[in-house]
């Protein structure tokens, strides 16, 4: 709301500097977005919240200023101050002949009083269309409204002054001499003043001439009955419309006018007569027209001012500060309320404050005017509650900490993605019905594409070493209109050197598959989750489309990728990014990518049944145990260990995991660790074979192992490796 100080001073005396005024207004909830000088004048551009349509006019702002400065507000000529419901009766008794004179010109009927509780019309004769006087044009422009002609300018001026939107019809172009307010018929059209043909829907309110629409109620007039240069008689409309209907219509048609903005927020049902009389006075003043007869007023069920009970003690209790009841009464009266004192105050609120409906609304008004800054800052009293963190969020923290220790940088990418084909193309994604752009018209169903985009973005900026992770949600679509399933997920993407510095050989610095696996082991170790199985993707059956929260196998290099099974399910898919994808993303190095079904890992770690969820739960009280259980100290070893090395030459088709599994199965309980320390292929190892060397650490909990004990275990292991893996043992 652009407020000209020159104009405002017509209604209230202001003797403080403009910036001080702006400060004071901000204190009552009307902050100025800017204060600008326009010629001699100063204009405050006030932000008005949507609950305060009464402040979308000069008189409303004047009322707030009067309240702040404790000054009376002067109402303009012709403006009857808020005629209350009771005064209408008197008006109705006025000369019947005068009213008939207007009604001879035009008849008004309202078919839908719920949509149009009040409709007033005044006929103006001897209309002179031309430019309005300079002072009026200047004020309109200061308010940001373009001057058009005498009649239109007066309607706009009155709207800006009083908050009541008005519309002027060229009376002679309403051939039927009749206005009928009703809902639109399906498929009906109306060409609005902006020249667009609007297709109307049955909920929309229209003013018709009895057959066809001539105006879109409360929003914009029709082209056919527009006031123009040859207009001789004008019908001025000022009405009160059902706010939600106007709001919906304006949105449906994408037509947000000054009138609609006021009506949808809630106008004053008792303002139309005051606005009509003010308009008539202005038209007469600028010699642009003469009122014919009485105002037509269709108002079958007058809106009564609501009365609210206010307990001063409650107000003080809610606010946490004592405001004297007398001060409360002063504030409420200055706001336009009628107050009856007592132990509880009976407050009749003015009809221009449709936002005041309950006691708490009045408490806000008291606080607002009393001053929020005068309310002390206290700390809560009474029963306290323990501060806690939901287990799932505590687990997230551990995961982030672990990955950061592994050298990964956390990223956040937009969950909004393209639904159409992408470089890395996952299963169907949940679509957004009203996207802003095609790039953001669906919800991601994997974190991997986003992670790859981060690698590509950095590579394009010549940052070739990128080691990142993202922890977030993926959205698995569930049919048309179904709520997508939100799942906690985690992606890791590595590219380039993970060690910085001089003279580090490339092969020791570049990330590789094993580096990625080390991070995954660190993560699973932190979650205390053992890996049941490592299944190379080359062995995996074709993807079951849409069934898995993990990305399709085609994203990975078929010979350099695997699933880690945890708690009986494939919960981690990792490996080298498929070289085709790396090339398409213009990545300068091989990239390594893991996708982790974090939801599943948490469910397993928390000991929940498969298919359970841990995300989005409001934890029950008392608090459930943490997802990541505390580690248990098993004591330091009391007897020395025996170390033995073992090198098995196996065909290339035998996986290291298989060899290690055989060692673990056969070595027995005294095996503390079996650590692979050398992998070798080349002479004298036969081609198609490689040597895997393990260091076995053996220890008994209750005695020192003898050489014989160790030898017995080694023999068992050697035999098993020979018979089950076809291994030759090197000494």
């Amino acid at each position: 709301m652009r407020v000209s100080l020159e104009w405002l001073r017509e209604y209230v005396d202001i003797d403080i500097a403009p910036d001080v005024l702006a400060e004071r207004l901000a204190g009552v909830g009307l902050p100025a977005e800017e204060v600008v000088r326009v010629g001699e004048d100063i204009v405050l551009d006030l932000e008005v919240t949507s609950n305060r349509p009464d402040c979308l006019c000069m008189l409303g702002i004047a009322r707030e200023v009067g309240l702040l400065l404790d000054r009376p507000v002067r109402f303009p000529d012709g403006y009857a101050e808020h005629p209350r419901a009771g005064r209408r009766a008197g008006r109705a008794r006025r000369t019947a002949s005068a009213r008939r004179e207007a009604e001879d010109r035009v008849r008004v009927e309202v078919e839908d009083p719920a949509g149009c509780p009040r409709f007033t019309a005044v006929v103006i004769d001897d209309v002179r269309i031309g430019p309005s006087p300079a002072w009026m044009q200047r004020r309109l422009e200061a308010a940001g409204v373009r001057a058009i002609n005498t009649v239109v300018d007066v309607t706009n001026y009155v709207m800006l002054e009083t908050g009541q939107p008005m519309h002027a019809f060229d009376c002679d172009r309403i051939g039927t001499r009749r206005l009928l307010v009703r809902r639109a018929h399906p498929g009906e059209t109306l060409e609005t003043l902006d020249g667009l043909a609007r297709v109307l829907e049955p909920e929309m309110l229209v003013i018709t001439d009895g057959t066809k629409p001539v105006s879109l109620a409360g929003i914009m007039g029709g082209r056919d009955t527009e006031v123009g240069e040859r207009t001789a008689t004008v019908l001025l409309e000022a009405a009160y419309w059902h706010a939600p209907t106007i709001g919906r219509t304006a949105r449906r048609l994408g037509l947000r006018t000054e009138a609609a903005a006021r009506f949808e927020r809630g106008a004053d049902p008792n303002a139309p007569p005051a606005a009509q009389s003010r308009a008539a006075r202005l038209l007469a003043e600028i010699s642009a027209g003469r009122t014919v007869g009485e105002m037509i007023d269709v108002y079958p069920a007058p809106v009564r001012a609501a009365t609210i009970r206010l307990r001063p003690a409650r107000a003080s209790a809610v606010l946490g500060t004592e405001i004297a009841p007398a001060e409360m009464v002063r504030i409420l009266r200055a706001l336009g309320c009628r107050v009856t004192s007592g132990r509880t105050l009976s407050v009749q609120v003015p009809t221009f404050r449709a936002d005041l409906v309950a006691e708490v609304d009045l408490i806000e008004e008291l606080a607002r005017v009393y001053g929020y800054d005068r309310v002390p800052a206290t700390l809560p009293r009474g029963d306290t509650t323990p501060g806690t963190m939901a287990p799932v969020l505590a687990a997230d923290r551990t995961v982030r900490d672990t990955l950061v220790r592994c050298g990964l940088v956390e990223t956040l990418t937009l969950t909004l993605v393209r639904s159409g084909p992408q470089l890395v193309d996952g299963d169907p994604r949940a679509a957004i019905a009203n996207p802003l752009t095609h790039d953001h018209d669906a919800l991601r169903r994997s974190l991997v594409p986003g992670a790859l985009e981060v690698l590509a973005t950095n590579a394009a900026r010549r940052l070739e070493d990128a080691h990142v992770f993202e922890l977030g949600r993926i959205f698995l679509p569930r049919g048309e209109g179904g709520r997508p399933v939100e799942r906690r997920s985690l992606a890791i993407a590595l590219m380039g050197r993970w060690r910085g510095g001089w003279n580090v050989p490339e092969d020791q610095a570049l990330a590789d598959l094993h580096h990625l696996r080390w991070m995954l082991d660190a993560l699973l170790g932190e979650l205390a989750l053992p890996v049941d199985d490592v299944r190379p993707l080359s062995d995996a059956p074709a993807d079951l489309a849409g069934a898995s929260p993990l990305g399709p196998a085609r994203w990975w290099h078929p010979g350099r990728s695997a699933d880690l099974h945890v708690g009986g399910r494939a919960a981690v898919r990792y490996g080298e990014l498929h070289p085709d994808l790396a090339a398409a993303s213009k990545l300068p190095h091989r990239a390594y990518v893991a996708e982790i079904d974090l939801e599943a890992l948490y469910v397993v770690a928390a000991g929940r049944p498969a298919g359970a969820r841990v995300s989005d739960e409001i934890p029950p009280l008392p608090a459930p145990p943490p997802i990541i259980a505390a580690r248990v100290f098993t004591g330091l070893p009391r007897y020395p260990e025996v170390e033995r090395d073992l090198a098995a030459v196996v065909p290339d088709t035998v996986a290291a995991g298989r060899v290690e599994a055989i060692i673990r199965e056969t070595a027995g309980p005294w095996l503390e660790a079996a650590e692979l320390f050398d992998v070798y292929a080349g002479p004298p190892i036969p081609t198609g074979h490689r040597s895997l060397a393990y260091r076995l650490r053996l220890r008994a909990p209750d005695r020192t192992l003898a050489a014989d004990d160790a030898e017995e275990i080694l023999t068992r292991v050697r035999i098993a490796l020979r018979t089950r893996a076809g291994a030759e043992l090197r000494e």
């Binding site: 500060t321 009474g382 940052l463």
Partner: protein, 347 residues
């Protein structure tokens, strides 16, 4: 004659001592010193021979002569030992000198990881409120329109929905426009007194620019109890502002409007950039709006089955990007979501 002989012998022993000490001092390596040691202290060495001459000495001279030779032996041993130590020290010194490296060379090691600045900021703010007895929870990002709006007193086509233009998925599902929706879920499952905060992704249909992103992070909190006052809201948020922005932070509360709070307020802090003198960031006002807050509207409590006469509640909601941008002097919201490592490693 006897005396003379004896004196001669003693003189000879003293001479051997002087020679041995000189030989030790002259030994320039551990090997040379070893030769000296063998020459004097070896089994066939000079001192061993001297002991053997004792037998031919007159009996009355033997004790004195024996004492002298023993003293000689001790002196030579000490000289050898002393020289050995000094040679070893010199050797060590040499080795250490040889091992010298250029300590001004830069360090070398794995690149270090880092939390995203927004995750870190949210955790940090959460910690402040945990200390005030709040529980930290989370909720879904896809909400029923009913929970995101109607339960917060915003029926369809409510004008306040304009400020929260939202993304719809069809079927009445909406990407949450604020984490205030989580408050509703908490209130449905708890009885007062309760204090909770939640944070995470929120979505609004804002075109992307330096200060708008269609996805952003919000942090919301609320407290329900008997006798919860507007002044408590001020006190709790003042504590937060000082804990996060520093102990000298000033706050200002001004009336605002949210359909789900009454009274509603906006909290501003004294500009952290210019200290309140006025700058481009605070648009010359000296104040920065940080969050919206207020007392929960009685209807919001009623919809969760909480008696608004008995219980009152305050609530607030804030974007997380803004405090992070102010603290780290970040001037473009898009940086948070682009993944540029130069940015992510800096903040």
């Amino acid at each position: 004659m006897k005396e003379q002989l004896s004196a001669q012998d003693l003189q000879r022993i003293a001479e051997i001592g002087r020679e041995a000490e000189r030989a030790c001092d002259e030994a320039s390596s551990e090997a040379a010193l070893e030769e000296v040691r063998i020459r004097y202290l070896g089994r066939q060495g000079v001192i061993a021979q001297a002991f053997r001459t004792l037998a031919s000495a007159p009996p009355e001279d033997r004790p004195r002569l024996g004492q002298s030779i023993n003293a000689l032996k001790a002196a030579v041993e000490e000289a050898v030992q002393r020289r050995a130590e000094s040679l070893a020290a010199a050797t060590r010194q040499t080795r250490l000198a040889d091992e010298r490296i250029d300590v001004t060379l830069p360090g070398r090691g794995p690149l270090s990881g880092r939390w995203h600045v927004l995750s870190r900021t949210m955790e940090e703010i959460a910690e402040i409120f945990i200390g005030l007895g709040f529980e930290v929870v989370e909720g879904p990002e896809v909400e029923a329109d009913h929970d995101n709006f109607e339960r917060l007193n915003m029926p369809p086509y409510h004008p306040a929905r304009d400020a929260q233009d939202s993304f719809y998925l069809g079927g009445g599902w909406v990407l949450r426009t604020h984490t205030t929706a989580v408050d509703v879920h908490v209130m449905d499952q708890r009885r007062p007194p309760m204090r909770a905060i939640s944070y995470g992704h929120c979505y609004r249909r804002d075109p992307v620019d330096a200060s708008h992103s269609p996805m952003f992070q919000q942090l919301d909190g609320f407290m329900v109890g008997e006798g919860v006052r507007f002044s408590d809201l001020k006190g709790v948020l003042l504590h937060f502002a000082r804990a996060f922005f520093g102990p000298d932070t000033r706050t200002r509360f001004a009336p605002s409007y949210f359909p789900f709070t009454e009274p509603s307020a906006e909290m501003a802090i004294g500009c952290v950039i210019c200290g309140g003198r006025g700058c481009a960031v605070c648009k010359r006002s000296g104040w920065l709006e940080i969050l919206g807050c207020g007392m929960f509207h009685p209807r919001v409590l009623e919809m969760s089955g909480i008696d608004p006469e008995r219980y009152t509640a305050f609530a607030w909601g804030m974007g997380v990007e803004r405090p992070a941008m102010l603290r780290h002097r970040i001037d473009d919201i898009r940086l948070f979501y682009e993944g540029d490592l130069r940015f992510l490693r800096q903040v």
